[in-house]
């Protein structure tokens, strides 16, 4: 199948202050439910609207493991398949519901010899859903 690989991001191409390409994720019901299932999270608030309302939420909402996955996707969409994520530390904010668009933005805060840190935020129209820091190794084309 292989399409040409996204070229490895080189340490020399990354500087502190660089902004990552923005990632917009339109969230619909299928997205909330299929990601909950794919993370083996069967808590009712992630797939059952009535149960979510009964527990005081306006609608079903994204689970935390999916938020972590989207944060990592945001990083590797930019850094490419060679990169290895070492650590993802997130702080959780407002829930994300069907109808929301989650917009991820971030910028490079540290870059030394291929070790990079990114400070990021993921917000919906209501405010911050997630914020945090990801540390990664670029592994720019060499064997790790």
């Amino acid at each position: 199948m292989s399409e040409p690989l996204q070229p490895a991001l080189q340490a020399t191409q990354v500087s502190v202050g660089d902004e990552l390409p923005l990632l917009e994720i339109p969230i619909d019901r299928t997205f909330v439910i299929s990601t909950a299932m794919a993370t083996r999270d069967y808590q009712d608030v992630h797939h059952d609207h009535e149960a979510a309302v009964q527990r005081g939420a306006p609608d079903i909402f994204l689970n935390i493991l999916t938020t972590t996955g989207l944060v990592n996707r945001f990083i590797t969409d930019w850094a490419g398949p060679h990169a290895r994520i070492k650590k993802t530390a997130i702080r959780l904010g407002l829930p994300a519901h069907p109808g929301d668009t989650l917009t991820l933005t971030g910028s490079v805060t540290e870059s030394a010899d291929g070790s990079v840190s990114v400070l990021l935020d993921g917000s919906t129209a209501r405010g911050s859903h997630v914020s945090g820091t990801v540390s990664l190794e670029l592994n720019g084309g060499e064997q790790a």
Binding site: S34, A38, I64
Partner: protein, 322 residues
């Protein structure tokens, strides 16, 4: 006004640090390509190293890898009922101690994952969780409580660490909670969607916003995507004055929903701009209400993210500070 809580001492909290939360959880199956595929398709992650062997090798890896963020997925209990959590484990004891002191609510605040080695198909993952720390009492926007941090360590079948995950939960006493005798369940929340989001954004800003058709100028409520008069899909939300007169009203006695006070006046109000609106008059005595009386809108906050309109007889003093 905050909920009564009992201060806990370090002597009560410190013994929990380092205690195991319960038995280890082992994934029942080895990591499988099909599970990885479901995950990448659901999340829309197109990184080829999760599904294509040649691409994974071209990046210097020996094979396809599992997405690092799936670290915790492999040992999730899924739909199996969990006998795993023993009623007398350290986690349960800590939850009970905090609940008894008044800290009954919980919210996850932080999640940190550290990836030591990239997991690959065939790995069998075991998760073991310990309580790492319990903070001193903290006052936050949510209320007063304690942060509880646990650390899950994930190992492979050789016992080598694949990664770990640090979870921080805030166990707190929600502020402004009514005493138990008056406690009532929260009011049912309205269904919100893209068609009516403008309305609830308005109520949060203490404005009663109504749609006006850009085509023919007709006001309409409740919110809808198209104008019932000219079928135009174009509209603008306008803030109303909030003043009107009672067109009609009912007094609800039954059935009683525990979230409301009864008897409950529900009024059909002719807003002065010329559109009709239904809302409660929770502070009105039924005998004081009659058709034609002037009313004014007020807004009541329901939690942090919702405010709902209600009406009071006009002229009147604002019913409350909220």
């Amino acid at each position: 006004m905050t909920t009564e809580t009992t201060p806990l001492t370090r002597e009560q909290l410190d013994p929990f640090a380092g205690k195991s939360c319960g038995p280890d959880r082992q994934s029942r199956d080895p990591i499988a390509q099909s599970d990885i595929r479901s995950w990448v398709e659901a999340l829309g992650d197109t990184n080829p190293i999760y599904v294509d062997e040649a691409s994974a090798k071209a990046t210097g890896r020996s094979s396809i890898i599992a997405p690092p963020a799936m670290l915790q997925v492999w040992s999730m209990a899924g739909l199996l009922k969990k006998p795993a959590s023993p009623p007398h484990g350290a986690r349960q004891e800590l939850i009970a101690l905090l609940a008894e002191a008044g800290f009954t609510s919980v919210v996850a605040t932080n999640c940190e994952q550290e990836y030591i080695r990239e997991a690959v198909p065939g790995d069998i993952i075991t998760a073991s969780e310990v309580i790492e720390s319990v903070s001193d009492q903290k006052d936050t926007a949510l209320g007063r409580g304690h942060f509880v941090t646990t650390l899950i360590t994930f190992t492979d079948s050789d016992g080598a660490i694949i990664g770990n995950q640090r979870w921080r939960l805030f166990r707190f006493a929600p502020p402004n909670r009514k005493p138990a005798a008056e406690a009532r369940p929260p009011r049912p929340r309205p269904a919100m969607n893209r068609d009516n989001a403008f309305f609830f954004e308005g109520t949060l800003a203490q404005e009663l916003r109504i749609q006006r058709c850009d085509g023919c100028g007709t006001l309409r409520h409740p919110p809808s995507p198209a104008c019932g008069t000219c079928q135009s899909f174009d509209w603008t939300a306008e803030a109303m004055s909030g003043r009107g007169t009672i067109h009609s009203f009912v007094v609800n006695h039954h059935p009683q929903v525990p979230a409301f006070n009864y008897p409950l006046v529900v009024a059909l109000v002719d807003l002065e701009e010329g559109v009709r609106f239904v809302a409660e008059m929770p502070d009105a005595e039924p005998d004081d209400v009659s058709i034609g009386l002037p009313v004014e809108v007020r807004f009541r906050q329901q939690g942090d993210d919702l405010a709902l309109p209600y009406f009071v007889l006009a002229p009147s003093q604002p019913a409350g500070e909220r």
